[in-house]
Structure formats: structure tokens, C-alpha cells
């Protein structure tokens, strides 16, 4: 504290400049145009969020029913589990480049790439969540005369909600973080100051980065609150859930049973 009394050190200085960039417009590095400031940042943030929200919404529409159905019939474990690995292995940047051939530049291209990024975690977590639902509850539901869709809706979905939400959270963070690639396909997002650092300058790069990080944290927190609000009371409270959570992850189970006897 006492060392920084006169001039702030470089890091703190850059941070202060970055915040200033977010609030007040300034002339660009290249000159001639005003960049930064609350207005431009709000527009970019809105674009960023719209793109991310669309990608997550489409991913949910695809992955939730598919995951619920695969989990319910207990098939396609390979598909559901390996989806997340493949999803992580294929870089979104490559997808954007790939889609230029089919969708050209623009919103659709980035939306498709981000949707493909968002699907795997939701699919995997939904599948694993449904498979982890107490088989006795499902057997009892069927034995009492619930139809298969009723079993999914009234038993399997509420009981796997926690896992499903985990997947959505994971997807949301990745998508919000990856949407900075938007400008590469000429979609203006918070990635614009980062990609066009030669126009926006170091302060713009850092300012936009801070904003993206803050957004990701905020969305994660909001989804966490939503998850807790939606979790039925009967599933809460019991805090020591470690064995239950372990039981839900299939590959851990397999490792356990593969021990030499």
C-alpha cells in the first residue's frame, strides 16, 4: 500500500485506463473515430448477449429432449458421453472458418458455431442426470401406471434438474466467453475491441476482457440462483451428497467396478 503512494504501478494503471475506456469515449488508436464509452459498450454487450442467448436457447431445444430421451431409454451412452469430448476437441474458431463455406460471414455462422459448442455439456449432463435417477422411483412410477412421457416429465426431469442445470451453466459460460470470436465472421460483439486491438488499443482489449469475464460470472451466478429456486425442496437440505454425485457419473462407476478382485 505504502509503495504506491505516488504513481500507481503499471498493472493498476492499465486497469484504471481500461475502466475509463468502458465509461468515456476516446479517439481510436488509428485516429478519426471515437471508440469506447458506455454507449458503444452497451451496444456491443447487447449484441454479445443476444448471440449467446440464441445459441444457448437453440442448444437447449436440441440437447434437452435428446438427452432426456436417450437417458430414459438408456441408449446412446456412447453418443451422449463422447459428445462432450468431441465438442471440446473441435475449436470454435475452426467451425467458424468451416461454416463460412456454407453460411458465409455473419450472425448465422457464429450462431451455428456457438450452438455446436453449447450442445455437448447440456446433452451429457442431461443424459447422466437422467441415468442417475433412482431406478426404484422410475420402476414404481411405471408400475403405478404412468405413461413413458409422464415418467420423463414427472419423475426423471425433476430428479435430474440439478445435473441438467450444471450442463446449462457450463454451456453458458463457454458460449459467453467464446462469443468474442464474433468479429472474425463480422458480427459485432464484445470481442470487437479484443480482436481489433490495433483500433481500440490496449485499454479497449483489457476493458472488453474484463466485461466478458464479469458477464460470465454474473450469468453463472444467476443460473445458480435459478437452479436452487427450481430444485424441489425434497431434494435440498441433504448436504452430504458426495456418494450420490459420484453415483451419477458413469465413468467413475466403471472405474470402481474394474478394480482387480
Amino acid at each position: 500500500m505504502n509503495a504506491v503512494a505516488g504513481t500507481p504501478p503499471f498493472a493498476a494503471n492499465a486497469f484504471v485506463e481500461a475502466i475509463e475506456f468502458l465509461i468515456t469515449p476516446r479517439e481510436s488508436v488509428t485516429g478519426g473515430v471515437q471508440v469506447g464509452g458506455v454507449d458503444e459498450m452497451l451496444t456491443l454487450t447487447a449484441n454479445h448477449m443476444l448471440l449467446s442467448a440464441a445459441a444457448i436457447a437453440i442448444a437447449c431445444l436440441v440437447a434437452l429432449p435428446l438427452g432426456l430421451w436417450l437417458g430414459h431409454v438408456g441408449k446412446g451412452e456412447f453418443l451422449a458421453i463422447s459428445a462432450s469430448n468431441v465438442g471440446r476437441a473441435v475449436p470454435t474458431l475452426a467451425l467458424i472458418a468451416f461454416f463460412i463455406a456454407f453460411l458465409g460471414l455473419g450472425f448465422l455462422n457464429v450462431l451455428a458455431a456457438l450452438t455446436l459448442l453449447a450442445i455437448p455439456p447440456i446433452l451429457t449432463n442431461t443424459y447422466v442426470g437422467v441415468r442417475g435417477v433412482d431406478r426404484d422411483a422410475v420402476d414404481a412410477a411405471r408400475g403405478m401406471g404412468m405413461t413413458e412421457p409422464q415418467i420423463v416429465r414427472r419423475v426423471e426431469l425433476p430428479l435430474s434438474l440439478r445435473s441438467v442445470f450444471g450442463g446449462v451453466q457450463l454451456s453458458a459460460i463457454s458460449v459467453v466467453a467464446t462469443a468474442i470470436l464474433g468479429p472474425l465472421a463480422s458480427v459485432e460483439t464484445l470481442g470487437t475491441p479484443i480482436v481489433s486491438v490495433n483500433v481500440y488499443g490496449q485499454a479497449g482489449l483489457l476493458g472488453a476482457s474484463i466485461l466478458v469475464a464479469a458477464l460470465a460470472i454474473l450469468i453463472n451466478a444467476l443460473l445458480g440462483v435459478a437452479q436452487r429456486a427450481l430444485t424441489p425442496r425434497g431434494l435440498k437440505a441433504g448436504r452430504s451428497e458426495a456418494p450420490g454425485i459420484l453415483r451419477r457419473i458413469p465413468f467413475l462407476q466403471r472405474q470402481g467396478s474394474a478394480q482387480p478382485t
Partner: protein, 409 residues
Amino acid sequence: MADQHRQAAVVEFDHVTKRYDAPTGRDKGKPTPGAVNDLSMKVPAGKICILVGPSGCGKTTTMKMINRIIEPTSGTIRLQGEDVTGSPPDELRRRIGYVIQQVGLFPHLTIADNVATVPRLLRWDGSRTRARVDEMLDLVGMDPSIYRGRYPKELSGGQRQRVGVARALAADPPVMLMDEPFGAVDPIAREKLQNEFLRLQEDIGKTIVFVTHDIDEAIKMGDRIAVLRTGGKLAQYASPAELLMYPADEFVEDFVGADRALKRLALQRVRDIDLWTAATVRSGEPVAEARRKIAEADIDIPLVVDDHGRPQGWLSERGLAGERVRPELRSRAEPLVELDDVLRDALADLIESEVHYSPVVDPDGCLAGVLSLEVISQSLHVPPERARTSTELVEPAGDDAVSAEIEPA
């Protein structure tokens, strides 16, 4: 208990077979676990039928074919004369109560919502459902005002099992299927749940198909016991007493256990057998009179009773020395056996007190006779010509659909 209709249905199996793919590789040639082979039997309305047998004998398959969780390969199952394949499985299942070993309560729903499952599937209106839920919780001995809003995880194992039974009964199904319902609770709670369930069944009088691997539970709970052998063949279908007295073959004999004679003691009550008589004397009565009564009785030693006929003790020889009976006891009247005791408990009392006989009293405490080891052993005697004939008891499901009792041939 507004709408306890005591409705129950006959369940009939008519040449029911379930085949699975034969085991291959190492297990080739062994019987397929869970298979059922040409099963015909009839469960009378309002009775508890226990399916029992070693693991893999097809008892659970048999039960699950009733509500079409498993579909038979061939043959027909009828519920009150109606083929179960006649209606969609989910509609059929709403008419059949279902209780499984792990209960399978829905952890995200309250106890009330759990019990309301089938009424809601049947679209009962809200107030009727609520009233029914409370009635059901009362029926299984759980105060609705306390438990209605609780969640399954807040209950003990025994309480969950009770809720499971309440849930199965909620829509008043004529048939209940129970798959080892008391298998997952500790022995003390199990004993309690079994007794409670038997009392409940006296009220509700459902047709119950009950799967267990525990022959003692089968004997205790069953009106009828179907013993299945590996490969899914019905080895014997009989009442518990018949099963113990006349096992159809060596398999059943082995399965019910070497102590089957002792198990039968648990099925009979003291009032069911011919007791000995004893001379009862009162203090101050003429000795000559007492000696005349002693000559007529089954045992030589007279029993002193009070004015109400309640046994006081066994009279010693010195008590008969004078003109009048003097109350000189050789021993007190212990242990006292009650008419409603099962023979097993009565025998245990005799052995524990190291006596050969003891007085039996009725509910008022008055002497009803004398129970002796000899009387008990006579009650266990099986007329030899009746042994090993009870395969005939397996009557195929046929025309006279409601014959309630299956009499030994």
C-alpha cells in the same frame, strides 16, 4: 373409511410361459433365470398369495406379468375374468397396486403428493384426492397432519414402506402386487410391518400377490403359497398348513426346511387342538369327591382353582390326607398358557419352565384345559396316507372361477 369397498378380484394364470434367450457360453444348458414354465393357478379374491422360491425361479417375473411390466411369451392372465392384455398397460396398472422392496417413493414430492400419484393419474378432483390421501395415511397409522407435507428423506425406512403401501392403495385397486416389500427393513421393523399389514388386510380384503424368498414370511403372511422351482415350474400351490404337512416332493420338502414340523406349530393355536382335562378341586371340598374327579381326568394331579375357576396351583398329596381338601400346593399353576397363544409360543413356555404340562386359560382367566408336550406332539402327527398327495391341489385355472378354498384331495 368412507369408500372402503373391500373390492377384490380373482387373478388367474392360464398356461403362462415366459421364455428368455437361453444362456450361452459358460452357462449353456443351465435354466434361464426368471423364466416361467407353463404356470396355471388361481388366486382367490381377497386372499394373500405368496410366490416363493429360490432366486431365479421366476417368482418376480410371474408377479410382473400381472401388470404387464413383463409380457408373457404365451398363455393368458385374467383379472376377474378379464384378459390383462385387453387394456393398455398404463390403464391396467392404475387398477393394480404396486409395492416394491426399495419403495421407490418420489424424493422430490411430499408424502401427500406421493400418495396422490394414482388418483391424479386418474384425474380425480382435488378435494376427493386430498380426502383420500388423509384417509390412506390414517389407514397405515401415520398422522396426516404431521406427515402430509414431509418429504421421503425425512422418514425412517419403516415409515417409507408404510407410505408405499398407502400410495399403492390410494385408488382402491382390487389387486395389489408386492415385491419383497419388507425385505429392506431390519428384522424388528419387518415383524412389526408384517403384523400391521395382516391387520390392514383384514380391513381392506384385497387380492394380494406377494413375492418373497423367505419361507417363514411366506408361511406367516400367506393364505396360499405357490412354491416355484428353478426353471419357473410351479412345485406346489397350497395353504401354509398343507405345504408344511404334505410337501409335494423333495424339492418343496427341502425348501420349507427340515424344521417344517416346528414351523407348523406357528400356524396352530392352543384352542385348535384337543387339550387334556384335569380334576379341579376347591379348598374345603370333600376329598372323596375330589378323588372321584381325579379318576376321570387325564392327569393324576388335581388343580386347585378359586371361586371363579381361575387355576391356583397343583395340589400336593398331603392336601388330600384329611376329610376335606386342604390347599397345600406342590407347585404354582405356571406357566399359564392362553387359548389364543400359537403352539410354538406355548411350547416355548413349557420348555422354559421345564414342565411337561401346564394349565390353559381362556381370556377371562378361567381354566380351559391342560396343554402337555404329548398333546402338542399328537397335533403334529401326520396321517401317513395323506402325505405326498398334494400335487393334486394345483388345480388349473378353470371354469369355477371363484372357488375360494382349495381343499386337499
